[in-house]
Structure formats: structure tokens, C-alpha cells
């Protein structure tokens, strides 16, 4: 026993683009020499829809109709059957990343360490100013019970480069009730559709507090959020599925009033 196998990829940040060469080494180490039937390396990439626990039952039929789509697959034989000596053996490998058939590679956004980006977007800044008062709110049951407040602010752009933070400013001009907390909530909305209908799933992927406690009035508080690398990808819209992002500014007042302002975002990679 005591044999271990590890794949090490050369590039430190593990990000590769289509057409590039992925290279690395397979490290096999063990105390004793090991008999083996050959080593081969397989690269696989696929898209599949995972059902969240919440929507079980509703979309099962639909889920079954969407098979995982394979987008990349290749196998190379590295070593013929034989024996590894005791100690550490390193076998280098490399293979080009080619898309299977005429399919397009989309960026992975979920926990796989190969991350491929096919297209280049263009960014036009789109600043948004906002004002939040009791009057601007929707879905309020008894508007009269709300304490008075006035919150102003702006987002520097809702078109964001995924590697750059979301920025802006927020000013609490006045508020009768003390403020407990102000948060930025990043939400991902996934939509899958086919002839039978479509499924929409919104997930909070990051929640960042930008103000804690009763902040000073008329003093601007910065809005600043780094997009998490693993849970975000450029906004995507295809015939079969959509991945979109939104940010909510959530203001919590004392006496548990919760005020949310929603802004759709468009993420891209430059």
C-alpha cells in the first residue's frame, strides 16, 4: 500500500483557453515498486443540469429529457503495462484543447478546475443612480407603518467585467429608524428551457455586508464586491439555457424592516 497518484497541472491559476495546450505531470509515488496495466489519461467535459432539492418533482420529466451534453473528450495512453520503480515517478503529458465537433465551449462556473473561455465580450459602462424611500418600495403591506428614510446611491456600472469588482456608493441621507446592516447580495439566476416549458432557479452566491450598525448620515459608504471566481461566469444566453446575475442591496432596519433593491447585472470577460 501507500501508493498515491496525483495530477499536477503546470499553470498556477489552472485557467486554459480553447486551442491552448494543457500540460502537466502525473506523479506516482509509492514505497515499493508497482505492477500496473498501463496508464492512460482521459479529458472529459460535459454540460448537465443538476436539479436543486427545492424543485424536485416539478421538473423531473423535463430533467430526464436533457441528457448531459459532452463537449470535449480525448484519451491518451501514457505508459504501456509494466512496473513502476519504488519512489516517485513523474510522467509529463500535454494535449491540445479542441472542441468536439462544431459545439461551442462555454465557461465553467462550477467547481471544475478546467475553465475555458471561448468568446470576448465588449463592455459599455452603464451607471445606475438609485433612490430608495418608503414610496419607491413595492410589495409593502402597510406603507404607513414604515419608518421614514431616504437612501441614495449609484452603481458605477451594471455591465461588469467579471475580474473587476462591482463598485458604487451609497448614502443614507436620513432614516428615522436606526440601521442595523446594509448588504450586497449577489444572486445567480439559471433558466433551462425546452419545448415543454422552462425551469428558473435563483441562488444567492455571495452576501457581502457593506455597512454594520447605524452608519453616519450623509456620508457615502462604498459599494464594493469582488465576484467569486468559482460561482460566477459571464452572463450567458443560449437556446437551451440562460445564466444571469443580479445584485440586491438589502437594508436592514431596527424593528426588522427589510428593504431590498434589485439590479440585474451583465457580466462579461474582456
Amino acid at each position: 500500500m501507500g501508493t498515491s497518484l496525483d495530477i499536477k497541472i503546470k499553470r498556477a491559476n489552472k485557467v486554459y483557453h480553447a486551442g491552448e495546450v494543457l500540460s502537466g505531470v502525473v506523479v506516482i509515488s509509492g514505497k515499493d515498486s508497482i505492477q500496473h496495466q498501463g496508464v492512460s489519461l482521459t479529458v472529459e467535459g460535459s454540460v448537465n443540469l443538476q436539479l436543486s432539492a427545492k424543485s424536485v418533482g416539478v421538473f423531473e420529466a423535463f430533467y430526464n429529457s436533457v441528457k448531459p451534453i459532452q463537449i470535449i473528450s480525448s484519451t491518451i495512453e501514457m505508459v504501456k503495462p509494466g512496473k513502476f520503480p519504488s519512489g516517485k515517478t513523474e510522467i509529463p503529458f500535454e494535449f491540445p484543447l479542441h472542441v468536439k465537433g462544431n459545439k461551442v465551449l462555454y465557461e465553467t462556473y462550477h467547481g471544475v478546475f478546467v475553465n475555458i473561455q471561448p468568446q470576448k465580450g465588449k463592455l459599455t459602462p452603464s451607471p445606475v443612480d438609485f433612490t430608495i424611500t418608503p414610496e419607491t418600495l413595492q410589495n409593502v403591506k402597510e406603507r404607513a407603518l414604515l419608518p421614514k428614510f431616504l437612501i441614495r446611491g449609484h452603481l458605477n456600472s451594471t455591465n461588469c467585467v467579471i475580474t473587476q469588482p462591482l463598485t458604487g456608493e451609497l448614502v443614507v441621507e436620513s432614516s428615522e429608524a436606526a440601521i442595523k446592516s446594509i448588504e450586497l447580495q449577489l444572486v445567480r439566476v439559471e433558466t433551462c428551457g425546452c419545448a415543454e416549458g422552462y425551469a428558473r432557479d435563483a441562488t444567492e452566491i455571495q452576501n457581502i455586508q457593506i455597512a454594520d450598525g447605524d452608519v453616519c448620515r450623509s456620508l457615502s459608504v462604498p459599494i464594493y464586491m469582488v465576484f467569486p471566481r468559482l460561482f460566477t461566469c459571464p452572463t450567458l444566453e443560449t437556446t437551451n439555457f440562460k445564466v444571469e446575475f443580479e445584485v440586491n442591496i438589502v437594508v436592514l432596519l431596527h424593528a426588522d424592516h427589510l428593504i431590498t433593491e434589485n439590479f440585474p447585472l451583465k457580466l462579461c470577460r474582456v
Binding site: A12, I205, A211, D212, P228
Partner: protein, 989 residues
Amino acid sequence: MASRAGRGEAVSGREKRAGCPDTSAHVTGKMAVFPWHPRSRNYKAEFASCRLEAVPLEFGDYHPLKPITVTESKTKKVSRKGSTSSTSSSSSSSVVDPLSSVLDGTDPLSMFAATADPAATDSSRKRRDRDENSIIGSDFEPWANKRGEILARYTTTEKLSINLFMGSEKGKAGTATSAMSEKVRTRLEELDDFEEGSQKELLNLTQQDYVNRIEELNQSLKDAWASDQKVKALKIVIQCSKLLSDTSVIQFYPSKFVLITDILDTFGKLVYERIFSMCVDNRSVLPDHFSPENVNDTAKETCLNWFFKIASIRELIPRFYVEASILKCNKFLSKTGISECLPRLTCMIRGIGDPLVSVYARAYLCRVGMEVAPHLKESLNKNFFDFLLTFKQIHGDTVQNQLVVQGVELPSYLPLYSPAMDWIFQCISYHAPEALLTEMMERCKKLGNNALLLNSVMSAFRAEFIATRSMDFIGMIKECDESGFPKHLLFRSLGLNLALADPPEGDRLQILNEAWKVITKLKNPQDYINCAEVWVEYTCKHFTKREVNTVLADVIKHMTPDRAFEDSYPQLQSIIKKVIAHFHDFSILFSVEKFLPFLDMFQKESVRVEVCKCIMEVFIKHQQEPTKDPVILNALLHVCKTTHDSVNALTLEDEKRTLAYLINGFIKMVSFGRDFEQQLSFYVEARSMFCNLEPVLVQLIHSVNRLAMETRKVMKGNHSRKTAAFVRACVAYCFITIPSLVGIFTRLNLYLHSGQVALANQCLSQADAFFKAAISLIPEVPKMINIDGKMRPSESFLLEFLCNFFSTLLIVPDHPEHGVLFLVRELLNVIQDYTWEDSSDDKIRIYTCVLHLLSAMSQESYLYHVDKVDSNDSLYGGDSKFLAENNKLCETVMAQILEHLKTLAKDEALKRQSSLGLSFFNSILAHGDLRNNRLNQLSVNLWHLAQRHGCADTRTMVKTLEYIKKRSKQPDMGHLTELALRLPLQTRT
């Protein structure tokens, strides 16, 4: 194996020799009847012949001590008109210091340092030039200094709690409108949660418990890091920094800040070092001033990972603190990283609602900023101005409500801001232009109720800046609102500045009057004393004893009611220290009327002793001239007595030593000039006062002995009846004091010493008494004695003492009523009866010395004499009976020596026999008359004995023989030639 065999061989070799007919027994057996014939000496002639010839030094000849005087006289002539400083510098250049010339210019250490980094010196110097203004110097008071102060000052008796997992977190997440996938949620929670599923809430902690817990966390952070659990380490840091958002038990907050930022510092350092170590490969080490291009990708990626991880921390306060703690790591990523990060973090603090929490966050950022990038002053200023913008919050409803809930008054709440603000102000004002300081001051002035700001300005700005505007500040302090920041703290801060820098000459008295007017009105003794303590320094510095007296009187008046002084010993102590630091002239100090009444306030013994020690230390340090001023003597005797009386069975040796040193210092400084009687009665008084401290008694004995010798000197050796009586009184003093000492060698040496003094003063019977006392004490010398806490064998000390004693005995005249050489006989008896260590030859060494003594005693005229005392040489005048007695003694001693040599004829002692034999040979050579045949024969036998078993050092033997040959060429030494012929050298083979 080989070595064992070798040893075996050696043993058998020895056995073989031992098997030979035992000649050594035969030799020593014969030796026992050898009589002693001392060589007669002409000391004067010997002395003249040994003396180095004095050679007059020609101008320009080399002499190690000469150049200094020569060049000085030269340059004085040349530069008579020049200043003295130029004289000294010109002379010093030509002076050859014998010590430095040995080192050839550079000392080895600095040479080593210079060569250690040959490549780096040039480039690093360039860098140093560039960084000159960006590096903080030693004049910047580091955070480490403030730490302890804050921890000591901001304490609480209330119960504290540590909540290492925000229990409400899960509930809050549930209220969010959108659902989180399970995986995402657990990932995020992993960061928040300390240990899977564990929620640690520790309630009811005392302050000490709290500190301990935090220290444990610090340790577990290090442990986690060391065991490669980086995520756990990060979790610990996040949980800890969360504690800083909790403002319950608000009076403890500053201390909490100190404790937790310690952990953050640890973390920051660990991360930085880790990434730094990743940049080091086998070939090269990253220089201290590296640029991001030199950092490899793996290190960069790891660094970036840390920043991404931290950017996703949900809560604002931990996110801020953790990012700030690894600010330095930006250096790995980009050149401008830090300068971009600092302003962003500064803005981020605006999101912190609680003004106290936010001001401490600013302080932390300034602290990290000063450490990592001291040249980025902009962010520091921005922090200050942002703080001013939020200043009004302090008086807002949220804060006021919180204070009501916690039951904290505004005057005790506001000072909680001081440490953080002082720090921010200090960072900004460091090397800041005057204009910036003025601007900051003006902006503080404009804000209402600005006492808090004023205080920080005074604490942090340059003392000179404050001191020159003292009157302005007094004006501003007066205008401050009574209900807010306590005024006594403001005056305290001002006083601290004035202790460091001087205000304009004209304002000085007015400042004191204005300040003291307010201080004296303070009702609370604690507030009062904290303030007064600071202002005493200013008063002492600029005013006379009259003002100081007034201030001391005022302090006494305030602190006496209800024994308020009991709670303020540290401050009162500090006042005393300041006063004595400024009044070096003790006659003035003790004439300050209220000084001694002030001392009376120290009623707790340990404190009183501390204060007394301080006074004595200063006295010893600053008193230049011996004094007999009755005011000083009375006061200091009182002070010394106080310290002495604190000694009891539990007092540590060290403490006793210190006290004795101080009291001795005082005793040495007391002199009544020619009034010797007065001096002696002072010593008598001192003895009765300080009887518990042995070193003081020893000092007193020495002082009295010195007094006796002084008297002798004044009388030029011819005592009158009166002085003779006085000297006897001195001697009696010593004689009755010595037995009260404990240390056996202390007593022995003092007996000897005092005996010598008595002898020198012609008190013969008294001297005899001392020597007899010493002799009768010798049997009491224990085998082992305690030296500096370790048990050591005492024999070597005894040997040393006895040799010294013999030298004195040479000149002690015999008592007419006792037998010849009665002291020597008595001493010999004591030596004979003393139980000596079996394995040592000390007894024989002593006998050899006795032999030397007896030889010296049989001379016609002794080597030395005491003035006006007839020694045995003139008493007996070479009487044959005396010489016969002397020789008889010699024979006994020699018999003893030879007997001992015989007992050494055993295997394991052969080496000792050899060396002892040689030493005896040398003694005979030096002191014996070798023209006597038997003595001559004895010496030849001894020579053989020394060489017999191959134990002798050939080189020594050769040298000895050479010496004999050389001696034989001297007049009257011809017989040595013949002796030399009879002394063969044994060859190794």
C-alpha cells in the same frame, strides 16, 4: 579495545616499578633527621640587583603613554589662539591608542559585517537613500509601547463573553429571499464556522479569563498554521475579528482591541512569510525590496487566493480587519497594490456604524499603514478627516442609548476614544509640516465639544508645538464643556507636553498658576493626583524650591483626608522621583519644608522602602563631596533606617545586597573632616542602627580602621596620649564588632586587617588579641562554604588567608610574657589539628610557607617593618636561643613534610609526590643554605624523587636546572655549580 589494552599495559608497567627495591622509603627515612639551615639574606642588596634600571626617556622615543601629553603640549603651543576644541581634535588624530592600533583600524566584528553582504551594500545604500523619508525612525513611538499602557488602563470587573460562532447567522440566512444551494451554503458557512458544528459561547468570563482565552486562540492559530491547516487558521482570525464588532462591556473595548489585533498581526506575519518563502527557490532568495516581477506564479496565485477568500467574508468588520492584516501581501501582486488598497479600506470603514468601533478600525489601518507603507500619508489624513465627519455621531441617539443601557457616563465613555485617536494623530503628525498640524488644530477647534480632539492633539503632536501654544491651549481647555471629556485629563495631557518641551519664558509662571488653579479644585483624589503628578515635573524644572514646596503642600492637603494616599502610591512615588531628579543638592532638597511630611504619606512599608531606596540611589549618584550637614545626615539616617528596618528573615539575599550597597554609599559620604571623635561616634550610631546588614557592619569596620590610619597620618605616626586613646577606641570598636558577623572568612580577614591597623598604631597587645582571635577561629572553618549560592570547598580560601597571615606574623613582635614565637606555635598547632582533605596537599603547602616564614624570621634584618614597631629582629638581635627555637620549629615542619611525601609513595599519588617534591626542592633552593651538606644531599634526593616515576615535566626540570646554573654565577653562590652537577636530567626513554 585498543585503549583498554593500552591502559592495562601502563598499569602493569607501574607495578613493575613498584616491585623494585623501594628506595623512596629509604630516602625519606633518612631525611627525617635533616636539620634546617636558612640562607642568610641581604634584602637590600637583592632588591637593588633585581630592580629594573630606570632609563631616561629621550624626546621622540616611543612610549605607549607618552604621545598624548607630548602632542598636547605641542598643539597648545601652535594653536594658542585657536579654540580648545580644535586643539583636542588635532591632537587626537596624532594619538596612537595602543588598543586600537592592535586591531589595525577595523575591529573584526565590523569587518565581518562589511564583508557579509558585499553585493548588497552598494545597491542597498541606494535603496536606503531612496527610502530615507519612507522609513519610520526611532523617534516614532511604536505601537508596542502603547500596548501595555492600554491594557493596564482599560480594565473592567464586569463579566465578558466570547462568542465564537454567531448563532443568529443561520436564521438570518434563512430569511434571504433566494435559496442557496446546499453546497454553496456549506462552503460559505465553513468560513464562518470555527469547527464543524461547534458553537463556542463562553459567558461570564473575568477579564483575566478573557485574556487567557484570547491567548489560547493566538496559540491555536499558530498551531493550526504549523500543522498546515490554513483554513482553520483563517477561521480563527475571522472569529476573533468578529469580537471587535461587539461593544458590550464598552470600557474594556480598547484592551480587547489590543488583544485581538495581536492575533491579526500574528496572522498577517504568517501569511506574508509563507508567501515569501514560496518565492524562494533553491537558487535565490528574494531580496527585502523585491518587485512583483520577481515573484513566481505559484506564490502570486496563493496570494491572490487569500485575497479572494477574504473578499468573500460576509461581515464587514472581519472582512476589513483580515484584509488589513495582510495588507503587506499586496507587494507580491503589484507595485501599486498597497497604495490602491489603503484608500479603499479607509472608505470601507465608513460602513462601520458604531463610532468607537470605527475609530479603532482606523487606528488599526493607520498602524498597518505606517508599518507597511509609511510614505502613504494621504490615507492617514483621510482617516483623520473622515473621523471628523463622523465626530457628531458620538453625541447621537444610538450611542447615547447604548450608554444608558450599559450604565456608562459620558466622561468615562469619551476617554475610550483616546488610545485610538492618539495613535491616528501620532501617525499623521509624525514628521508632518507645521502647516498640517496648524490646519488639523484649526479643524478640531471648529467642532463643538472638542475636548476629546483637543486631548488627542496634545497627546500626539510634537511637544514643542504644544508648548509654544500653551496659553492658547489653556484658554481652549477652559472653554470646554464641563459634562463631556474630563478636564483633568486635558490638563494632564498639557502637563505631559510641558514636561518635555519648554514654553516661552514669559508665560511660564502664568501657565503654572492657571493650571494649578484648576488642578487644586479637583474633588476626586484620583483625578487630582493623576494631574498633579504630571505637573510636578514642570514645576521642578522651571521653578525654585518655594514653588515646589507649595505644590507638595497642596498634594499633602488633598491626599491626606480619608487616607486617599493609600490608593495613589504609584503617583506619589513618581512625584518623589521627579523632585529628587531635579534637586541634586540634598541640602536644598531637605530644606524643602514639606518634603519629609510628604514622605510620611508612604505608610505601606514596601512602598516606603522603595521610595527610600530611590532617594538613596540619587544621593549616591549625585553627592560629589562628603558632607556633615546635620540636615542631610538626620534625614538620610532616617531614610536609611527605614530601609534597614524592612529587612527580616524573609528578605532575599539580593535585596539585602542592594540595601547594604545603598547604606554603604551613604556612610562613605559622611565626613566630619578633622573632627575624628564626631566621626567615630557617627560610626557607633550607625552600627547600632544597621546591625542587621552584615555588609554595612563590614563597611563600618573598614571605615573605623581607615579613621585610625587617618589619625596616624595626621600625627605622622607619633600618637599623643589623646590620639593613642582615640586609636585604641577605634581598635576596640572593631574588636567588638567583628564577632557579630557571620561569614567566617569575613571575620578572619577583618581580624587580620584590624590587627595590622592596630600594629601600625602601636597597639601591640590589641594586635595580639586580634591575631589570637583569628587563630582560635580557624578550627571553625567548615569544609564547605557557600559562595554566591554554591557550596565550594573552603581549603583554597584558607590557604590564601594563611599565607597572608604569615606575612603579617613576620613582623609581629613576641610578647615578653609568652614564649618565643608564641603566635606561630599556636597557629601551627591549629593547623596540625585541623582536619584536612585526604586527597589534597594543602597542609604541606602551608608547612612549606611556614618554612619560608621561619627562614625570613631568622634573618638578621627583616624584609619589612612597621614604622615605630620593633619586630623580633631588633628585639632578639639574632640571639642564638631564638635562632635555636626557630630551627627546632623548622625541623618539626620539615619532618612533617617529609612524612607526608612518604605517604605519597602510592601508585595513584606518585604524580602528587613528584610535584610536591619539586616544590620542596625549590623552597630549599630559595630559602635554605645549600652549603650545608645534609641539606644539599636532601635537595639532590628530592630532585631524584621528583623525577623518579617519570611524572616530572621535563621542561620544568630543564628550566630549574638552568636557573641553578645561572644563580651559581652570582657572588657567594659558587657552591651551586657543584650542586648542578649532581642533578641529572632524566630522559624520556
